[in-house]
Subunit: 378 residues, 2 copies
């Protein structure tokens, strides 16, 4: 890989394709064993070759976080798309356009108000939207709790209004706060149980609720049973990152995304190595700050990818990153990391770091580097 | 502005052009009074119409943080460009290409090693690069201190090697940690004094050092004298943001950048208003976290821009923002902020939030909205 790597200007986002394929296989195999469909969340990569690799490995349909992602996937022949953010009524027009082109777009709601807006718009345009209801399984964000009085009302509003109620979905986002297998397994079971219970409540009211969709990378990799679940959505597993490493669901050699950077200076007295990857490259995500190990703005590796213990990006300006070594390190930084030499930085959060770049430089096992473009904006 | 605003899908980055023009005039007038050239830093906007407005108001040349910005500006006829990040030797080829096309590109170094690399490359290609030396005035980042033994050696390396030593530059980045006029004035004076002293040390060694360039928005707006300084670089003043507001160098009605967002849900029990601007729109920048007032991920305003006291984005997932109101607020959030209604969010850090968007929607005083594209990547 080195000969091609040296041709790249820095900073760039590098993808290790072998690691990515390993990660895709790992999650797909697990979902196959648990007997559920995997509908990967494309918000992590926002990149078609990555999504195609997930589908080639057995994933079925995609989850998106913006309608731009939906349009992008559909334009490339992926027609089963779940827009997994509660829809703003103002976006129904755009959703309708996608459906009229043949996209089986699913939309999401967690309120009677929005359900009524969907029904009104759907009836006015003679469109039977595919709609899911969001369930709150951990108090983390949005969704209705399983015992919320309006759960059945949302469902009946949709069904009575002629919409296609597809099912219920939830996201155990609080899994990011955990770091033991026992706690992760317990939350995965809670996510499963509450989402399945919500579906049962709706069914008991005589309404259809065929599908139960759950998902977060940590719970997907921790669940012991997915009884009653029909699909799993997960995203960051495709690259993994330091947050996932701290949570304990991946190993260091599974991190597929890194930022290649160049040393541009030193502050010898302070032990600072200055590189050309600041927060504009790494993002401002400090997701490991309150975890067991704080990696600053990223863990530093050699150009070829070997983890340098204790070397982290501890400061970040827009285009300047400041790397420091572990306390007690006796290295002459100018000798060991000379100006012009290159390093790789593993990110805290792959979704956030990826978003800083217009494209990935994907390095395959033969050492070839491919430029894969990413979506930007909405 | 409202009629056109309602046509925009959310989230979008809104620019209030009147405020921006006011900010540009304010800084330009101040620099004119202090008798120095203003060379605005375009890393904040990365947007040509903004840069053109700065030049139309009297700015002279530009400061850039990437060579992509340099190429972009030069392609639009701006030929005096200062790339104000210590140059990696691997980028000299790209710098040479720009100069060969006629761009008066200045580059920067703070080490003998890099100065030698510049000389070697310049001599090999018969190019007399315009080079500046970076001075460290506050221990904040990179640069040589005024008493560093290698300061004169860097200068003589460049001059003896046939390069054009243009001058010295510094950036008082630690101004972001201050919030009183007295402290800001003192740091501005320290920035001026140390950078001028560095120039004098070089001149005393018999070497040319015509220019003295300083700059940060807080110090530029606080300096009482710029004696000995020839130019000021500043960036974020063009939009301002909540960090600048906390520092005390702008008023709330000078913040020109905001993110327009739509309410997509509520968690009534928790007092959460869920909007479609998460960290992907606001960035992960938490620059106000350790300031006098922590604005979370942003201060919330009405759609037309009125500041809603105590309303802040206190949580952010990728596409979900969670807004909470001030403690003790008795508002029925579903009534006051119904699903589908719109809000504006003022960002902590304009440079970071702007970077999340492919373009700005610039609203002029007649209410027209123009789409202005931004640079993305390197």
């Amino acid at each position: 890989m080195s000969a091609s790597l040296s041709s790249l200007d820095t900073p760039v986002a590098l993808l290790d394709v072998s690691r990515m394929q390993h990660n895709i296989q790992r999650m797909q195999q697990r979902m196959n064993e648990l007997g559920v469909r995997l509908r990967p969340h494309v918000k992590t990569s926002k990149c078609l070759p990555v999504i195609q690799a997930q589908i080639a490995a057995g994933a079925s349909g995609v989850t998106v976080s913006t309608l731009k992602e939906a349009e992008h996937c559909f334009a490339e022949g992926i027609d089963d798309v779940f827009y997994a953010v509660a829809i703003a009524p103002g976006k129904l027009e755009q959703a309708l356009r996608l459906r009229r082109k043949g996209c089986r777009l699913s939309i999401l709601t967690d309120s009677v108000t929005a359900a009524r807006a969907i029904v009104a718009f759907g009836q006015a345009h003679d469109e039977r939207f595919d709609v899911w209801i969001e369930i709150d399984c951990d108090g983390h964000r949005s969704g209705l709790t399983v015992d919320d009085p309006s759960l059945v009302e949302v469902a009946s509003t949709l069904v009575d209004g002629g919409m296609q109620l597809r099912g219920v979905m939830t996201h155990a986002g609080s899994s990011y706060d955990l770091d033991t297998p026992a706690a992760l397994q317990a939350l995965a079971e809670q996510e499963r149980r509450l989402c399945v219970s919500a579906a049962e409540r709706i069914r008991q009211a005589g309404l259809p609720c065929a599908d139960v969709s759950i998902g977060s990378t940590p719970t997907a990799l921790s669940a012991q049973s997915l009884h009653g679940v029909t699909e799993v959505r997960a995203g960051v597993y495709v690259f993994f990152d330091l947050v996932m490493h701290n949570i304990g669901v991946c190993q260091a050699d599974e991190l597929a995304l890194s930022v290649l950077t160049t040393v541009i200076g030193h502050q010898q007295d302070k032990g600072w190595i200055i590189v050309d990857a600041g927060w504009m490259a790494m993002s401002r995500d400090r997701g490991t700050q309150r975890q067991s190990e704080d990696f600053g703005y990223g863990q530093v590796c050699s150009e070829s990818g070997e983890w340098i213990d204790g070397a982290r990006v501890t400061g970040a300006n827009q285009e300047h990153g400041i790397i420091t070594l572990a306390a007690g390190s006796e290295a002459d930084i100018s000798e060991r990391f000379p100006i012009g030499s290159r390093l790789r930085i593993l990110p805290n959060h792959a979704c956030a770091t990826g978003a800083q770049f217009p494209d990935y430089h994907a390095c395959d096992s033969e050492g070839a580097i491919h430029t894969w473009s990413r979506l930007h904006g909405w």
